[in-house]
């Protein structure tokens, strides 16, 4: 019998023939990897053929739940989508939220893994009786939200769907998978699903799952709920993540015009403080969440949309665009097409700089031009014109364009950088360089340390290494439990408190020390997968621009991140993680990962 909160099995469905089988998930595996991104990493080790093309039929695409899903614990209705990324060629996981997580798990599985590919556009249905395919010709070409809506009309409201937009259908390497307006956004998982000719995976709850100690879980849920209304989440409740923008501008951490600057003159026009007052329509939240971080703004043309810092950063300052109507429209367009806004904005910003330098012949594509931004997005979604090149992401595009453009292609491991300037956040610089997923702010939350005042954020050193490891470990656990990171500030002793929650749900006699080991195991398992798939030490690095162009900040100080300093921090990270000088684990470490 599985531990509380688990079914002890994954469903492995073959989209090619519609068959499905069950993969047993032993208790020791669940305890070692918990769920979400951790269990997803284990599943990829087990099910992804070595060297598989991420867009090949045999590449697995996993929807992974967690023991917390379905409990009354706030922010627990989350799921991880895990696959080998077509953008990075490495392990990729992305989280999304809401009812799909609950219904998907209550199909009776801790994960749903899709392999194979359909011969025509289809939807994979999963419920208590297993998996089957239905035709989706009428949905092909629709935005994910529209496809989801029509599916529920067709199947019934008890069904929940995760769907792709046109970008995923056309194999854009940073296409998203969406559910209920939330996106498993990074790394091109939508292209993986599109390559399987799956418009959506739809799930229907069929059973229940009990926690080991329901009374303890309920008590913990009440406590967490109360704490979720406190000061640690005020920012998310009151203004949402867009509150970062003006603050980041004030401290020179707002990447602007493809990382040519760290402050943006147009930032005040995009500030949450004003946009909220003028545009805010309502607030929303995911299922099972008491924070309610989603701030819905009115956009041009009567549309309403969720606004997040990363959307606005990537399509605003990064591209030099300051008109809020343009930025909101571009963000809405990304949602319609099913594009990761960060990679879309980063790739377009790189292309804008290429145009300035005469490396790309597209005179219409200029920094600050909202119309050009919209045209670029449309061409990417259609893979037409310049979009054919830009749909590949900045790394591949730079390799094609040449002319030194790789030096300012804003990516790590092929994934475009989020809105945190590494030169003025040097713990974050390390986190971005070494993270398994690539340039990513959700698997490495080292920005938190840079903004804590505990170290000089412009002078990376040993303390920055320790901070990057600590925040990476915390993220590994939160993303496996899964709990929303916006809740992280309410935990004063996070590993101990998370262990207590996990113990109440599962019945395991676990503690914070074990969860710290779990975190290290998950981080190592991701790295081990990447090594298996061809990762090289040079992949743990930052774009040349960030290491060769100092930034003068408002105080007059110059922020410099030299290759030597980054190398020193990476060496420190490797040593602290028990890796060799090339960043590889030894055989003994790998033997403890339960991967074989």
């Amino acid at each position: 019998m599985a531990a509380g909160g688990y079914f002890g099995r994954a469903l492995v469905a073959d989209a090619g023939d519609g068959t499905a089988s069950t993969l047993a998930l032993p208790d020791e595996v669940l305890r070692a990897f918990v769920g979400g991104v951790g269990l997803g990493a284990w599943l990829m080790h087990r099910l992804a053929p070595p060297g598989v093309d991420p867009l090949a039929p045999e590449a697995p695409l996993a929807f992974v739940f967690s023991p917390m899903v379905g409990t009354p614990l706030t922010t627990s209705a989350k799921f991880a989508v895990v696959a080998k990324s077509p953008l990075t060629g490495l392990l990729n996981d992305a989280l999304a939220s809401s009812q799909f997580a609950i219904s998907g798990k209550l199909t009776g599985h801790d994960a749903i893994v899709v392999t194979g590919a359909c011969d025509r556009p289809s939807v994979l249905l999963v419920d208590g009786s297993g998996a089957r395919r239905i035709d989706a010709a009428d949905l092909w070409g629709l935005p994910a939200a529209e496809a989801e809506k029509r599916l529920r009309e067709r199947l019934g409201r008890g069904w929940r769907a995760a769907a792709i937009g046109p970008a995923g259908e056309r194999g854009v390497r940073y296409a998203t998978i969406s559910h209920d307006g939330r996106h498993a956004g990074r790394g091109g998982l939508g292209a993986v699903m599109g390559a399987k000719r799956l418009k959506a995976v739809a799930v229907h709850a069929a059973t229940r799952v009990a926690s080991a100690d329901p009374a303890a879980v309920l008590g913990a849920a009440r406590d967490l709920r109360a704490r979720s209304f406190g000061p640690a989440t005020a920012k998310y409740r009151e203004l949402g993540t867009l509150a970062n923008l003006l603050a980041f501008n004030a401290i020179s951490t707002l990447p602007t015009r493809n990382f040519q600057a760290a402050t943006f003159d147009g930032a005040p026009k995009l500030a949450a403080e004003d946009l909220s007052r003028m545009r805010s329509v309502t607030r929303g939240g995911c299922a099972s969440c008491t924070i309610g971080c989603e701030h819905i703004y009115a956009a041009r043309g009567g549309k309403q949309m969720r606004v997040e810092y990363e959307n606005v950063f990537a399509l605003g300052p990064m591209c030099g665009v300051s008109d809020p109507d343009d930025v909101l429209a571009a963000s809405a367009r990304c949602d319609e097409l099913g594009l990761d806004t960060i990679s879309a904005g980063g790739t377009i910003a790189w292309a804008m700089e290429c145009v300035e330098r005469g490396l790309i012949d597209a005179p219409w594509l200029r920094f600050g031009d909202g119309g050009a931004l919209m045209r670029a997005l449309a061409e990417i979604g259609a893979r037409q014109g310049l979009g054919e090149l830009l749909s590949e992401g900045s790394r591949r595009a730079a390799a094609q364009v040449g002319g030194g453009s790789a030096a300012f292609a804003p990516h790590v491991k092929g994934m475009e950088l989020p809105g945190y300037e590494p030169r003025t956040m040097q713990a974050m610089a390390l986190g971005l360089a070494v993270n398994a997923r690539g340039a990513d702010h959700n698997r490495s939350g080292a920005y938190e340390a840079d903004l804590s005042g505990e170290h000089d954020r412009l002078e990376g050193g040993e303390r920055h290494v320790a901070a990057a490891i600590e925040t990476e470990d915390r993220a590994a656990v939160m993303d496996s439990l899964i709990l929303c990171k916006f809740l992280r500030g309410v935990f004063s002793e996070p590993f101990d408190e998370w262990a207590a929650l996990l113990a109440a749900v599962t019945g395991w006699d676990t503690d914070g020390a074990e969860l710290r080991q779990t975190a290290r195991r998950i981080v190592l398992a991701k790295r081990a997968f990447n090594i298996r798939e061809g990762w090289a030490p040079a992949d743990d690095w930052l774009p040349e621009r960030l290491l060769s162009e100092p930034l003068r900040i408002g105080s007059g100080r110059v922020a410099t991140l030299t290759p030597g300093r980054l190398r020193s921090m990476i060496d420190g990270y490797y040593a602290a993680r028990g890796l060799d000088s090339d960043g590889r684990p030894d055989e003994a470490s790998l033997a403890g990962l339960l991967l074989s």
Partner: protein, 280 residues
């Protein structure tokens, strides 16, 4: 090796003041805490306090080093020699000053340190009618020379200046720095406090004029910059109706982030208050 360190001489007898000047309060901080904090804002190396043997000091941040002047009562050159010796292997230069400079401005420290161009050993301000050896910049390599002079009982700073390369910075030279001219036009940085009347006069002056800005949920309707008077970060936070802590941090002039309420502020500073929960 850092470019510069800070040395604060706290071991004087404070005989005219009648009490330890280091512990005197000024707008919510002690003079020693303030002066060490001003230096810490400028230098990239250590800040070292030189005290008399066994001298009690007010609370200081853990990052501030405290060394003892091995021989009490020999005057500023002895303290300077001890400070230079304590920083010589960690910084190329040091700004050395006394503890009784409530108006010392970071812009003054920067200007004086910049005087140490190639071949220059001492940057010596000459302001308000006097040379200011206790508000001056020194090569730390002068440590052995200073020690030899002390051993030879040649205890006045002038003896040191006679044996090295000194650039004197008169008021015009100091004010030629537009930043310093704007932020400390009267060169109050070198005003020291020797007697109770000096202290009373210093306390009667308002705290530095600074600009505060609240971001995100902390703004609470207070959009845009606001001018206040505050000598410490905690004072600025209080003026903003905030308290620094787990969920609120401050950025000084868009640069360092801190939760340190005792961090000194100076005229012209801008303080940005941010939610510490900055992700997403």
């Amino acid at each position: 090796m850092a470019a510069s360190a800070g040395i604060v001489l706290a071991g004087g007898r404070s005989s005219r003041m009648g009490t330890s000047k280091a512990a005197l309060e000024w707008h919510g901080s002690t003079l020693l805490r303030r002066v060490t904090g001003v230096l810490a804002r400028v230098v990239d190396g250590p800040v070292v306090v030189v005290r008399a043997p066994g001298q009690e000091l007010p609370a200081l941040p853990a990052q501030v080093d405290v060394v003892e002047d091995p021989r009490e009562g020999l005057g500023p050159l002895q303290g300077l020699a001890a400070g230079l010796a304590a920083t010589a292997d960690r910084a190329e230069a040091a700004f050395a000053c006394s503890t009784d400079l409530p108006f010392l401005h970071p812009a003054f420290v920067r200007r004086v340190l910049r005087a140490l161009t190639d071949g220059v050993d001492v940057g010596l301000p000459v302001a308000l009618g006097y040379p200011q050896p206790l508000a001056a910049a020194y090569r730390t390599a002068l440590a052995p020379l200073a020690e030899r002079l002390v051993a030879a009982q040649r205890l006045r700073p002038a003896f040191l200046f006679g044996e090295c390369s000194v650039v004197r910075l008169d008021e015009a030279a100091l004010r030629a720095d537009p930043v310093l001219a704007a932020l400390d036009p009267d060169l109050d940085s070198v005003i020291n406090i020797n007697e109770p009347a000096d202290y009373a006069a210093a306390r009667s002056r308002t705290a530095p004029e600074v600009t505060i800005q609240r971001f995100g949920a902390l703004a609470d309707g207070h959009r845009g910059p606001q001018t206040i008077h505050a000598a410490t970060m905690a004072g600025a936070a209080a003026a903003a109706g905030l308290a620094l802590g787990r969920h609120v941090v401050a950025a000084l002039n868009g640069d360092q982030i801190t939760r340190d309420g005792e961090m000194p502020l100076a005229t012209g500073d801008t303080v940005s208050f941010l939610a510490a929960d900055a992700g997403g």
